[in-house]
């Protein structure tokens, strides 16, 4: 009877190992890209700058140093704002004689520098393994109070 019991317990442990192995195999198949990325690339600090045009005064004033930024798409953390500068947007109109006249519009230009952690891969810098970040890229970001359609102007990492 004792032999039967011990044999039964041994069988269960083996089963457990097989189940565990099977689960790990399946999970690694699902997440092999993430696992590879985590093992291959180290996280590093970066600083990127962006510009936003056509903002209202209220929206421009709603962004300040220390604000956290998130990608509107999925709420991924996009960094912490380190510096902010705003200026009135200069626009131009064509006059009837063909000349151009420039004027200060009611809209604002916002420039920010943001600190972020990400990974440098073969082709460039990624935020959260998903957002390929190079100058010219446009993202929809938001703080707790303002939504911004930003254009990346530079990135240093």
């Amino acid at each position: 009877m004792g032999a039967i019991m011990s044999r039964k317990i041994k069988f269960n442990v083996l089963d457990f190992c097989i189940v565990l192995f099977a689960i790990l195999t399946i999970l690694s198949t699902f997440f092999w890209k993430d696992i590879r990325s985590k093992l291959t690339f180290d996280e590093k600090n970066a600083e990127y700058s962006f510009i936003v045009t056509g903002l209202t005064k209220e929206a421009a004033e709603g962004v300040s140093v220390g604000n956290n930024l998130y990608f509107s798409e999925d709420g991924t953390f996009a960094g912490k704002i380190e510096s902010v500068s705003t200026e009135r947007e200069i626009r131009s109109v064509s006059l009837v004689d063909g000349e151009k006249a420039e004027y200060e519009s009611d809209f604002y230009i916002l420039r920010c520098k943001v600190d972020i952690k990400g990974k440098e891969k073969e082709n460039g810098f990624y935020i959260d393994d998903r957002y390929f970040t190079v100058p010219g890229k446009k993202f929809s970001l938001e703080t707790d109070s303002v939504k911004l359609f930003v254009e990346i102007t530079s990135i240093n990492y």
């Binding site: 039967i4 189940v19 390929f132 010219g136 446009k138």
Partner: protein
């Protein structure tokens, strides 16, 4: 003997754990099957050459260079290579009112000389006046940049795909390299048919 019989019974029993193992392996097989099936459903690939036009500020006109590798928008896959970059002025059409004033004054002068014109000459004059009125001026500080990209795009049912979306001439597409990314307008696309392959 009785004990031996019960041992055999225990060994033959199909337990819940056995069922779990079967389910796990079955799901693994199904998952792999789905992946393979999806791969089979991937669109054909076609070697193409396409031109994309951008308007850049003067100081940013060299954002894309010949030889730059074009990537997908997520930066993960290569699409092709920039084989040519050309620049042209950005222009706009303006009404030159000074020309109109000159024409009006000419008309007054001609009227005073009692020159009788037929309908045909009037129509011709109107066209000439319209042409003279509209002038093309160069917008300073901006450059029209046109890239030629030679690479491989997904192709399905007469549509070329880049970044998961189909595009044709006049559509906006995102061109991404290691150094820069921007949306431009596709102005031409042609297949390099001899190299078309299927995945």
């Amino acid at each position: 003997m009785k004990n031996r019989k019960s041992v055999n019974n225990v060994n033959k029993k199909f337990t819940a754990i056995d069922l779990l193992i079967c389910l796990l392996f079955l799901s693994a097989v199904v998952y792999m099957g789905i992946r393979i099936f999806q791969n089979e459903k991937l669109k054909d690939e076609s070697n193409v050459s396409f031109d994309v036009s951008f308007v850049f500020s003067e100081d940013n006109k060299e954002a894309f260079k010949i030889g730059d590798i074009v990537l997908t928008a997520d930066g993960k896959d290569e699409v092709g290579k920039i084989t040519n970059v050309s620049y042209s002025d950005v222009t706009e059409k303006n009404f030159d009112l000074s020309v109109k004033e000159e024409i009006i004054s000419e008309d007054i002068f001609e009227d005073s000389s009692e020159i009788i014109e037929n309908d045909f000459s009037n129509e011709q004059k109107e066209t000439e006046t319209s042409k003279a009125l509209v002038t093309e001026t160069v917008i300073k500080g901006y450059v029209n940049v046109t890239l030629t990209v030679v690479g491989t795009l997904e192709y399905d049912n007469g549509k070329y795909y880049l970044n998961g979306s189909s595009f044709k001439i006049d559509d906006e597409i995102e061109i991404t390299t290691k150094n820069y990314s921007s949306f431009g307008k596709c102005i031409s696309i042609s297949s390099l048919k001899e190299n078309t392959k299927s995945e």
